[in-house]
Amino acid sequence: MKIDTIDTTKLDKVAEVMGGVAERRRAQGEAMYYDLLANCFRKVQRVKEEGKYLVAHTIFIPTEFLFAMDIVPFYLEGMCEIMARVHGLEESFSAAKSKGFASELCSGHRLVDAMAIQGWMPRPDAFVWSNLVCDLTTKTGDFLEKLYDRPGFYLDRPYKNTEEGMQYYIRELEELVHFLENLTGRKMDWDRLSEVMEDTRRSTEVFREICELRKAVPSPMRNQHMIEMIMTQILMSGSPELVTFYEAIRDQVKEAVEKGEGIVPEERYRLLTLFYYPAYLWKLLNAMQTEYGAVIVAEPHLSVWAEGEIDPAKPLESLARKAFALYDTGPLQPFVDRVLRQAEEYKADGTIYWAHIGCRQTCATIRIIKEVLMEKVGIPTLVIDCDLGDPTYASGESMKDKLEEFFELLDERK
């Protein structure tokens, strides 16, 4: 069962490709995000030569700990999806299936397993995973530990944000620190961690600013920026690079607001979007803006980083608050309230729900949210059945058709 050899050329190719993408975007002044991505891959490439530890982790594991201990992170879901897209999705899905991973499982996670099964994922020194987001993240590590013969740590966030739940989670975070200390043979430098947390605090503040600025009409922010902000949040929370990136976006957005300019010349539809957009279809996000004047004004699932106070002197409490600000892993009601609030604050005309067929926990909430939005604020919701990682499930064309129909519906209601 164990993977003995890793094909390092697979990672190398991806780093190269990402670098190429960044270069191509530089002319349009859009390289920043791709540079950050490419650098993440490059840092992973260099771990051996730099004598650093590599920890592979699932979504929203606090990278702050890793940065404070000079450990290089490998973000499993995001980076494996990119690797699979560069090297061949079909092959990867087959590899996952061959080991018995049912095709009804979220494609994002099947791709993580596929990268490991094929020996393409670089061998980390350890795996760290949690239940932040869903059952699939929860079950990520056991298989990978065995396959790659490496130790692992599971971080458990309680369902409800109670006093006891908070205490439990803080002790979980302490335990994670111990795990990393044992792994590296070094002690956590708590002063360094406070410095790292200061970056987290700053990026959270800038994030909040951006969220406030986005309330302006017309919308001052490009549709794809939120996805970029989330991806980088997961990859490098607690880094000066993230602060710089957010500040660059903030400055762009602020300028647009001050000039009273929208991101599109004629803003026709202000949209709320729910859950996550299919990873391979960024073109559609742009087309929505340019062809239809459809701007995304809020993403209640994704913009949670505006919440949770960060106090650099109290890193564990701060990180705990941040984790509890995630609605995915907790009860639904507070999230419904949030969606309603944002629909009004951001003056949304309509909502798009990206119904990812592999996602149990979000799809089961669609009905309630759709109903509540119509009843309480009178806005309709388009549910687009799609697959986060598998382009064969629903084509860009069919999604575009659906969007067009929805925009017609919105026109009628004006």
Binding site: R367, K370, M374, P380, E408, L409
Partner: protein, 263 residues
């Protein structure tokens, strides 16, 4: 003022022509040609004996699967809003429309202002559309759709047919036919209808059913299936006299509104 609505379905093309907001003429034409040609032929057919010609029509709106292939249409619209407008004109109390055509199944919700609240169509599955019944009738049971519809009304029982998929349903029908003793044909038909009603009902439930409910589209002419659907959903169904024409009628209403905007 002459306006027209065109519903370019997969099996048939429907035309409705309004003169000063009254229905002047309509046609249902089996699709023999490709998009553009088909549309033209259908309108010309509808204009026969009216004394008008194509160029007399001031505004044309196309809807349905083939709506984008009609170059002479002034506007194309998705089926949802056309169904809403068409039904609202005839039955203003209707809040849910279930439209089942040859290859499509659409459910729309209309609000009390006559505007569309929600619209959902079948995705990748033909089990809830006309072709399912057609295939069952002609290929498996060797009878016409008409006959099948009539016979279902005489059923005393309902054969159990798993409704996961049209393909499995076919296998089950075959096994019912060849069983010893064979399941009564009327019951098999009732089972086929029940299976399809579950599919159609499932889509309707996802959109949310609010009364009054209208049943439209070519399949609404199937009295047997209409009865099964009504029983399955537990609500009265309003079925227009010419249920296939609703989307085209709605498209014509859109044409009327759009041309009024222009002037």
């Amino acid at each position: 003022m002459l306006v027209a609505g065109l519903d370019m379905g997969s099996l048939t093309t429907k035309v409705v022509i309004l003169e000063d907001n009254q229905v002047l003429s309509w046609r249902v034409k089996t699709a023999a040609d490709e998009g553009e040609v088909q549309a033209r032929r259908a309108i010309e057919d509808a204009l026969k004996d009216t004394g008008f010609a194509l160029q007399d029509i001031g505004y044309i709106v196309a809807t349905g699967a083939g709506r984008k292939s009609v170059s002479f249409a002034h506007k194309q619209r998705a089926i949802g809003s056309c169904l809403a407008k068409g039904v609202n004109r005839l039955f203003p109390s209707v809040r849910t429309v279930i439209d089942v055509g040859a290859e499509t199944c659409n459910v729309v919700r209309v609000n009390d202002k006559g505007a569309l609240d929600d619209s959902m169509g079948n995705e990748r599955c033909a089990s809830g559309t006309g072709v399912f019944l057609e295939a069952m009738a002609t290929r498996l049971l060797h009878m016409s759709l008409e006959e099948m519809a009539q016979r279902s009304l005489l059923a005393e029982g309902v054969a159990e047919i798993s409704n996961m998929c049209a393909i499995f349903a076919e296998q089950e029908v075959i096994s019912h036919v060849h069983r010893e003793p064979p399941t009564p044909m009327n019951d098999i038909i009732a089972g086929i209808h029940a299976s399809m009603a579950t599919r159609v009902g499932g889509l309707a439930k996802r959109v949310g059913i609010k009364e009054d409910v209208a049943f439209t589209g070519g399949v609404a002419k199937n009295v047997g299936f209409a009865r099964t659907l009504k029983e399955s959903l537990g609500v009265e169904l309003t079925i227009p006299e010419e249920p296939q024409l609703i989307a085209a009628l709605g498209a014509a209403c859109v044409a009327r509104d759009e041309s009024a905007k222009k002037s």
